[in-house]
Symmetry: C5
């Protein structure tokens, strides 16, 4: 999994059925000190995250379908938690 | 998922049956500010995208087969939406 | 698989059911000489690892579900061993 | 998928049964302008490619097994087409 | 697949059942000219490789389980062959 910070929302009116009704968010991946690190990505929010939240991201199709409870889900990254505390990142 | 900009089309007359009839497009992946970022890739278009469109890309075989409704699909990246709005990229 | 050093724990009270009860750890991946290398990641501990341990990490959903014995697991990285000896890293 | 240029062949007499009889080729991945880009890789040829050809590569186990029609195939990259034309790469 | 050079062995006495009895090796991935390239990795040896051998590596869970004939295998990289000849690397 990865740690990331939610930067914003994505709106895509034209999309395949597999993506209707999904809340898409832009996430900047972070290293253990909370610094921007590697590629930004788009993830489906399954943990009621908001802009600015530090989140836990799983990047795997099977996991995404499981968390979304959508066997037909065509998603490769999901937000599965909001991080309260990380040794390196210290208390939020 | 990733954000990308469609650069062009790919024509490959010699190809395996699994790829017949698929619309292949070259996509430059972007960061949240719309800057070229990381590797360009080839994706199958499933959202009627055109050259210059900012698109949503899923990079996972299971998802690709699901979106294309082709259980025998041998594809690892599909375009699943056209992005209208992204906080960082502002209004298109 | 990858070699990594456990940096700390992750606490996320808000998370999906798929992640309840899992021990999440921050791991810095290492090269064969034990130097920090590439991205840090979050992995589920399945080998009773502690902070500072040099560990073996598998980054694959199917393997994670198998090791955790949780077919509904939505995890893409697990700690599966604690490394005693690595030629390059010499005796611990 | 990726674009690549075939550099040469690979000969490995000692190999597991899963790889017997497969034509292994070294491929340099390219960006949209045909410049060498990212890691070289080894792919199984399923499109009768030759040294110097610009090819289409799928990097996913499920797709590889489908294209090779070998459910027991242990391959993570296959050549599925020979590229005639790519906007950026212009006419070959 | 990738080309790599075997650097050494890994010993991990504390590990999950899924990894008991497996021969773990540290492999430095190489480019087509035999130069060290990208991340080192740990792979399960299925081709009787030794330290210094130039090997063929598959990085995919499904393939690993197939080659190891262990449906419960929790491994994401296996050595499947020893490379005798590679155009670029010339005669060994």
């Amino acid at each position: 999994m990865k740690i990331g910070k939610v930067l914003g929302n994505v709106v895509a009116t034209v999309k395949t059925d597999s993506h209707r009704g999904l809340k898409l968010m832009v996430v900047q991946t972070l290293d253990e000190r909370g610094e921007p690190h590697a590629d930004p990505l788009i993830a489906v929010d399954c943990a009621h995250a908001g802009i600015g939240d530090i989140v836990l991201i799983v990047e795997e199709g099977g996991s995404a379908r499981e968390v979304m409870q959508r066997p037909d889900g065509a998603v490769d990254a999901v937000i599965v938690g909001i991080i309260d505390y990380l040794n390196e990142l210290k208390e939020r």
